[in-house]
């Protein structure tokens, strides 16, 4: 359960790293929220990755 949750969060974080820049490219997002979304995704990624990558 823990592993599945961490994996789901991890996937969301990867999306949070790449989707906001894609939205900036498409002109649908500003730079400031994109940078914040990437930072949050980065932090959560490094918190969750050990939980599911180690358990693999």
């Amino acid at each position: 359960m823990m592993k599945a949750t961490a994996l789901t969060l991890g996937i969301l974080c990867l999306l949070g790293t790449i989707v906001p820049p894609a939205l900036v490219l498409a002109g649908m997002m500003d730079n400031a929220p994109m940078k914040l979304a990437m930072l949050v995704s980065t932090v959560v990624w490094f918190v969750t990755a050990p939980l599911w990558m180690t358990a693999r």
Binding site: C13, L14, T17, I18, P20, P21, A22, V24, L25, G27, N31, M34, K35, L36, M38, L39, S41, T42, W45, F46, A49, P50, M53, T54
Partner: protein, 456 residues
């Protein structure tokens, strides 16, 4: 970029064949290669292509074909030899070259590792220095440290990296695994965010084909040879025997494709876009320091990416350099040797020259270390057929194989001379001729002055 592999698996079976129970499937290699060839220095190599005046077509074709050639070399040269021997490069070198010559190779290897790690420290310092206005970021023309604040940042990073390397690399290797997919996406994110900022989206306005003042012009062949030989020490030079000796199947030899096409192809293109954007905005005076460029594009996440990318690659490099130095000075402890390597690396990191001339340095790195791979190829595939002793130093009980020494150093020295004499834009133009010359010279010299097996 040229990276060293985390030495996790190589710490075992240093002096024996890898047993069947320790072999690993292809899955163990793909992620490792992908992570290790997406390093902090990729942020430096991309901009250098722009500065060297590479055109768009030359860049894309050169990267695709050059990286393909590198992958094929790994797959069809390094992997078969690694699977046949299943020992480390150092172990094999001792059998061919003798202990003293293998030690000399270790020293050269360790020193070059230190300079490479120094370039990674420099790149990391441009990220850590962003919040500090007193830190003057280095430019292309900077060779010396740019000031006291810059030096303080480099010393702090170098000390931290050395401390972690002394403690062991387990944590760093794990962080490298965690970071790999995220890091690659940050590179792509930098490119996505930069595209709308470009004043012109014409490919010819991004990769203009015009070098910056004082830089040589390179085209398709420059990119092709660089992409092929920037890791020459690893594939042609057989350094990756230490990793691929664990391969259960030859298909593991395709795994470097992950590192080449994600790290050396896409990441370099993304990084070059960052600098092209700076050039369009600020002209030839644009800053090339990766830290401010990436911060401007994607913010703090980008700075974290540079630091982690540099740290996860520099740390095993320092650790490896420490092991190499320990091979030279066996009486010194592993910790002391690693600290020595860390100090040399940090001092190198103070001087931006290694990062700003990374294309040249990587070429030199390959040209110095790759030729021993040709000697190994001759020993394994041709020696018996040509009537040369296999593992001559081991067979003769010699500690210094003069034939191997001359076959290693003479072509490399000639290569350096040729690069200067014919004003080649990059040393990687000479890597293949030097490698082939080493193999041929080894055959000739082995017959005349090589150690002869003891008759019992």
């Amino acid at each position: 970029m040229p990276s060293d592999h985390p030495p996790t698996p190589a710490d075992e079976f240093e002096h024996e064949r890898v047993p069947d129970r320790a072999l690993k499937g292809p899955g163990s290699f793909w992620g490792m290669y992908a992570g290790e060839h997406t390093a902090g220095t990729e942020f430096m190599i991309g901009p250098l292509f722009v500065a060297y005046g590479v055109g768009a077509g030359d860049l894309i074709c050169g990267l695709l074909l050059g990286n393909l050639a590198a992958v094929l070399t790994w797959r069809h040269l390094t992997t078969p030899i690694a699977m046949r021997l299943r020992v480390t490069l150092y172990h094999k070198l001792e059998s061919i070259c003798g202990r003293r010559l293998a030690t000399l190779y270790n020293f050269a290897n360790g020193l070059l590792f230190c300079f490479l790690a120094g370039a990674m420290v420099t790149v990391s310092a441009t990220a850590v220095g962003v919040p500090f206005p007193d830190v003057r970021m280095p430019g292309f023309s900077d060779i010396m440290p740019t000031g006291a604040a810059w030096s303080a940042v480099v010393l702090a990073i170098g000390a931290a990296m050395t401390w972690v390397a002394v403690k062991g690399y387990g944590v760093v290797a794990r962080v490298a695994n965690y970071a790999a997919p995220w890091m690659f996406l940050v590179f792509v994110a930098c490119a996505l965010v930069t595209l709308p900022k470009l004043e012109s989206h014409e490919l010819s306005a991004i990769w203009t084909g015009v070098p910056l003042e004082g830089k040589p012009k390179i085209g398709f062949w420059g990119v092709f040879f660089f992409a092929w030989f920037c890791n020459a020490a690893m594939h042609l030079g057989m350094s990756d025997l230490s990793v691929l000796r664990y391969a259960r199947n030859a298909s593991s030899g395709w795994a470097p494709a992950a590192g080449m096409f994600l790290g050396h192809c896409i990441a370099w293109i993304c990084a070059s876009l960052l600098y092209a954007c700076q050039l369009q905005k600020f002209g030839a005076g644009a800053s090339v320091a990766p830290g401010p460029m990436v911060y401007d594009a994607v913010g703090v996440a980008g700075l974290i990416c540079i630091v982690i990318a540099g740290w996860t690659t520099a740390n095993p490099t320092i650790y490896r350099a420490g092991l190499a130095f320990q091979g030279v000075m066996p009486h010194v402890s592993r910790q002391a040797a690693t600290i020595t390597a860390g100090i040399v690396c940090t001092i190198a990191g103070l001087f931006p020259a290694f990062a700003m001339k990374l294309l040249d340095f990587v070429g030199i790195y390959g040209m110095v270390l790759a030729p021993v791979g040709a000697i190994i190829v001759v020993d394994i595939w041709f020696a018996r057929r040509l009537g040369i002793a296999v593992n001559p130093a081991l067979a003769a009980g010699a500690s210094f194989n003069r034939a191997a020494f001359l076959a290693w150093t003479l072509p490399a020295a000639l290569g350096f001379w040729a690069v200067r004499r014919f004003e080649m834009p990059l040393p990687t133009y000479a890597t293949l001729p030097v490698w082939i010359a080493s193999g041929l010279l080894y055959i000739v010299l082995s017959k005349s002055i090589g150690p002869k097996p003891c008759i019992r």
